[in-house]
Amino acid sequence: MQKRFVTIWFRHLLTDWMTIRQSDLKDIPFVFAVPDHGRLIITAANTPAEAQGITAGMVAADAKAIVPGLKVIDDIPGQNLKLLKALGLWCIRYSPIIAIDQPDGLIMDVSGCTHLWGGERGYIKEVVNRLRGKGYDVRAAIADTIGTAWAIARFGQVTPVIEPGGHTNALLPLPPAGLRLEPVVLERLHKLGLITIRSFISMPRSVLRRRFGEGLLLRLAQALGQEDEVIIPLLPVQPYEERLPCLEPICTAVGIEIAIQRLLETLCKRLQQEGKGLRTAILKGYRVDGKLEQVQIGTNRATYNSSHLFKLFELQIAKIEPALGIELFTLTAPKVEDVSPLQEALWAGKPGLDDLGVAELLDRLAGKIGQGAIHRYLPDEHYWPERSVKVAGSIRERPSIDWRTDKPRPVQLLNKPEPIEVSAPIPDYPPMLFIYKGKRHQIKKADGPERIEREWWLDAGQHRDYYNVEDEEGQRYWLFRSGHYGGSQGNQWFIHGFFA
């Protein structure tokens, strides 16, 4: 596929940003400056200041001599990068691959994106107009290579749209500065009278290398498309992502439903073809006012069943706030697992945890009440009752050890043992009676003690001596004494559970 790139040049990035924030600065010449060796060096100047001959790199004192009313603002280090990042994220609506071009530009890979805005001319116009509408003075260009687009955006005089294959011709009349060269190389070219690219492009490569170094050849090759240029996208490209730009901003629930349905259909079709199923999916809605709405769903088993996934999203629609409208929806599947269509068919009728219906039910429950409310337990290798079970990581996880039945365990276990009053006749004998919640229980039968030691490597405290007791009504309890028999000072006795 023919690659197409757009570069955007923010001519006064920092000062435009300042003007947007403080509109009274609009017509006042002002500059940003940083201290350097005891002087203030200008890093950025706004349009009124530039009109009076002030440029970046000047000393602030000199500039003040030229323009007496010049306002000098302290530069914030790293601010332009922050701005570019925010602007780049905003531009995601135009293309999924956007890279920052330091210090004042953005590079977008727009291959296959422009037709959504009615062709490249319309696309460029839309991008530039929207950014200008925000208050940024931008120039943009579209071409086959990043190098050409960069040069045209900054030095082009004729048209911002370079037709496919026309980049060599478009480069010829431009100055060598359009090739992103080092200042030293530029100066040397200038001294030799090579003021356009045309004047040296046909020179033998060995000559150029000897005189101007490898850098010039590389930049030239990149601009001409003979060498690939790698850009680092602002957002990593998701392998499973679907986008749905909307002609009109969507602000109704029905509209969002339709958008989700369409996105799911295309994504699920792709997943099915590749034999994959998604475990999590994120729906993002880019709002007209620049905000981002995001909802996420998770499934217990990898699936590409679009109607089931839609049901999960349906529960979340109420959380999406469209405000003035959403103009772009993206659906990504960050977590994807293999599914075998054959197994799917086998499992459909099989009862148990592998059943498709059960997994879908759990997804629905998780969607409404949260995954945190759903637990499945597996045995754990601890004697301490509270730690003898662990929460299973997934629905497919099987117990690694057997459930133990050699010791009696109560059907109901209190979350926290509750203190009781007992009377125990002899040390290490079960109590005769105990009082729990104001009621006396005469103990008729008892088993025990079962001593469970505290796991000292996990926590400190007394061991427990558990007794399994039955009162006169036949009710069965699990009691324990904390620590050794304490004689006259009494012991701490607790009730911990109820047997069936």
Partner: protein, 244 residues
């Protein structure tokens, strides 16, 4: 003449039962829940699996007994490898104990919710899911309408539902097929051995739709329900009802 009428009436009764969701026992599959004579209290003499049962328990001790009894039933219902959902607000059920009642604790999925309304919603959703063997819900109170919704859900899916009702101060009528009350009984050991014996319960079937309520004493031992004593004249009552 009288015989002919009897035939017609019994045929009609069978039809009505079928419409209400009671299926005649499949041939050769007697004693689905392993309850023995208790199953005789139900129409057709078979434990209605695709229905909602309610259990009354106010005390935690009774809840524990009911929990044990339900788990005994679950072990039979989950024999084919099914899964079970246990939905509750403040759960105290201790999974390792379930193994004693023949249930694989890792095949039970616990849903712990904060609101009573969510419990009922989740229960209804779960009862609609055919892939489950059973659903247990711990609720404080359930109204007739809510229980009717649950009953309608199981009539479609044939899942067994168990409702554990905590508040029984004013007992509203429900659409559940049966109302149980399980209370613990003193256990007994052979020859006055020391220690605590197998769990033993007083199983009260307070209400059965189209069946005959009764009281039984049961014990859970060696992985099955065992009857302790014969129910009093239950069979008689049963006969009379069918005749009249």
């Amino acid at each position: 003449m009288v015989d002919a009428k009897k035939d017609i009436i019994s045929q009609l009764q069978k039809d009505i039962l079928l419409w209400e969701g009671f299926k005649p026992p499949p041939p050769g599959a007697a004693g689905l829940a392993g309850l023995g004579p208790v199953e005789g209290a139900f129409p057709n003499g078979v434990f209605p699996a695709g229905a909602v049962h309610e259990f009354l328990s106010t005390e935690p001790e009774h809840a524990a007994a009911a929990g044990g009894f339900i788990n005994g039933l679950l072990s039979a219902l989950m024999q084919q490898g099914g899964a079970c959902l246990w939905i509750s607000q403040s759960r105290t059920l201790f999974p390792p104990a379930l193994k004693t009642f023949g249930v694989e604790p890792d095949r039970i999925i616990f849903i712990d919710l904060k609101k009573e309304k969510d419990v009922l919603w989740a229960t209804e959703e779960a009862l609609k899911c055919e892939g489950l063997a059973a659903v247990v819900a711990e609720v404080r109170e359930i109204s007739f309408t809510e229980s009717r919704r649950l009953q309608l859900a199981v009539e479609q899916s044939r899942v067994t539902g168990f409702i554990l009702r905590g508040v029984t101060r004013k007992l509203s009528t429900t659409a559940c097929v049966a109302r149980w009350k399980i209370t613990p009984l003193p256990s007994e050991l052979e020859a006055d051995m020391p220690g605590v014996g197998h769990p033993r319960w007083n199983v009260e079937l307070l209400k059965v739709r189209n069946g005959s309520p009764g009281v039984w004493k049961m014990e859970w031992a060696a992985g099955q329900f065992n009857m302790i004593a014969e129910p009093v004249a239950e069979e008689m009552l049963h006969e009379e009802r069918w005749a009249g």
